[in-house]
Amino acid sequence: MSKIDIGVKTIFGQLSSLFVNLVGHLTCFVAVAEELHFGRAAERLGMAQPPLSQRIQRLEKELGVRLFDRSSRRVELTAPGRLLLDEARDILARVDRVYSLADRARLGETGAVRAGLPADLGGAVVAALIAAFRARRPDLRLDLREIGTAEQVRALAEGALDVGVVRHPCDSRDLDLGPMLGQPVGVLLPADSPLAASPEVHLADLAGHDLVAFPREEAPGTYDELLATCRRHGYEPPAVHEARHPQFALGLVLAGTAVALAPRAEDGAAAVWRPLLGDPLTWRTSTAWRRGAEPDRERAVADFTAVATAVLRTEAGMVAVGEAPARRVVARPASGFLA
């Protein structure tokens, strides 16, 4: 057998299989180098000792250097072995990274829940929601987006969002909804306003004040209902200022002429929150997801709904309201049947 024959055999036989399995051979090398004991290394790798020994021999043959000095009592790294150990570890780390990147790319489609939240829920609610979801589903990444109801409904329909927290009324024709939660809306007043002296405020008493409310495009249904209820109860704001975040609304209130309609807030030195007499305004909130979404999403959506519903009750002061109370509708001929 000539040397060339051996080379050809090596290249097309052993070597090719070793190349394919180089990562496996290097893993064995690093394990033995770290344990300095073939038995413990084999145990760590979950394999028998003889194939481990064969692999080390094959690797040594391939590289043309002895990696270990083996005596009957101890195993030691040779100088070339020490030299190659760092390189081998580096290669294995990079291979791990290749796999984890591939995993993440795959999980990006299946292992994350993309959820929408209204902008005005507040930091405590968002933090509690993230923590509670992490505790319930450590295997899933929660991808939260701050978007309004109208945009959520669009994103759910397009499949760009898995689940949302929406304000009602909204277009929920193609959506399934979680438990309905209610939140009474009150008025945020400057602490020195004469109205702040009463424990409750009638909407009609706000006459003449500008109104601060969330931007209409966030949740057009809720916004229109808010203003219709104001008018219905005798309050037609001379102007409506839009504030996306509660802190901005507070600023406008503190500036003077405006009042904000918002869920309960802690009284501060400069501004106080008062309930509205007769509870004319309740914001209804629920989770929502696209009806007939893929089955593997169902459990994730159900878990999000359970967590979000619990957190909105404990952290945002919402209560279960079930069905919306039946509205009294006096039919007028102009809006009558087929009119």
């Binding site: 004469p194 009463s198 009638h202 009609a204 219905r232 007769g278 509708v329 006096v330 102009a334």
Partner: protein, 325 residues
């Protein structure tokens, strides 16, 4: 009244709402000023009276000046019709035939039909109120009698309410006063000097007339079952609630839980509506708004809408806790 949403509860809490009520002192004057401003902005002169049907609280803008009724004359006619029915003087289910050549002019109801119609007196009353059918109204007026209508008004304590004639009389007078052959021509020539002044139909002294206060009084009688026996009053309330027009009184109350009943009156630049607004808390308010626009324009949505907005201002002031006068 005890069920009204929170307002009685608020009255019960007394001084706790001091800030709000204090801010409302003199709100009666403020609301009439705002109503006047709304009339001005819409380009009309307006007369208004609004009254809480149960407490008598009221708000008025020139509420005792005489105004042109136009089709609002159909309200006292309807009341007289039901009183006669209750007295056994006529049978509301009696069917009558209305032939094309007998019909008064008008854009709606039987006035707009081409062929012979046979229907009961009470169904004619339905068309008279719900779509302001002039032909139906004149058939009823012929049956009830002009004198009986005015006698009813007097008996119900409406001394300044006077019905001068029906739709046909008014139509003929308008054309002859204007020296024109058609209503369209009258509109076209309305801004010619002297034409408006010649039209007796637009002069409260020379046509069917009343005052805003007398019209809210009449509606209050109907809503309190005092204008006729209760079943007659209920039938009248039903018809006012079925009126089709959404652009005047009704437009001021875009609330699903609020019932708006009414009767319009329209004659050239005169736009009126009288009606009742009822809230789910039991609050009910009679409102009469009579306007006249300065522009000789037929399509003037602002002038229609201000009837609703001024009525809402008045009703909200009546519902507010400050008890304005």
């Amino acid at each position: 009244m005890s069920a009204r949403d929170g307002r009685t509860a608020r009255a019960g809490t007394g001084g706790a709402t001091g800030g709000g009520t204090g801010a409302r002192a003199g709100a009666g004057g403020e609301v009439t000023a705002r109503i006047e401003a709304a009339f001005r902005a819409a380009g009309v002169t307006g007369h208004l009276h609004a009254a809480d049907i149960d407490t008598g609280r009221e708000i008025g803008v020139r509420p005792d000046e005489p105004v042109v009724l136009a089709s609002v004359f159909k309200v006292p006619l309807l009341v007289a019709f039901h009183r006669q029915a209750a007295a056994g003087l006529l049978d509301p289910t009696e069917a009558v035939t209305v032939r094309p050549e007998d019909r008064s002019a008008g854009p709606t109801g039987i006035s707009a039909l081409l062929d012979e119609v046979r229907m009961s007196l009470r169904d004619l009353a339905c068309l008279m109120i719900t779509v302001s059918d002039n032909a139906a109204a004149d058939v009823l007026l012929d049956r009830v009698g002009l004198a009986a209508v005015n006698e009813t008004a007097a008996r119900l304590g409406l001394p300044r309410t006077y019905v001068d004639g029906g739709g046909r009389d008014l139509y003929d007078a308008m054309l002859s006063d204007g020296g024109v052959d058609s209503f369209a021509e009258l509109w076209a020539r309305l801004d010619e000097p002297g034409v408006l002044g010649r039209l007796r139909g637009l002069d409260p002294a020379r046509t069917s007339r009343s005052t805003p206060r007398e019209m809210t009084r009449l509606l209050g009688l109907v809503w309190r079952d005092e204008a006729a026996p209760p079943d007659g009053c209920a039938a009248m309330r039903r018809l006012f609630g079925l009126q089709v027009w959404p652009h005047r009184l009704s437009s001021g109350f875009p609330f699903d839980d609020v019932l708006v009943s009414g009767k319009t009156g329209t004659l050239l630049t005169v736009r009126n509506e009288v009606g009742v607004v009822e809230y789910p808390d039991g609050g009910r308010y009679a409102v009469a708004v009579f306007t006249r626009s300065s522009l000789p324009i037929a399509a003037l949505p602002r002038a229609d809408a201000v009837i609703g907005t001024s009525a809402r201002m008045a009703v909200e002031a009546l519902r507010a806790p400050g008890r304005p006068r």
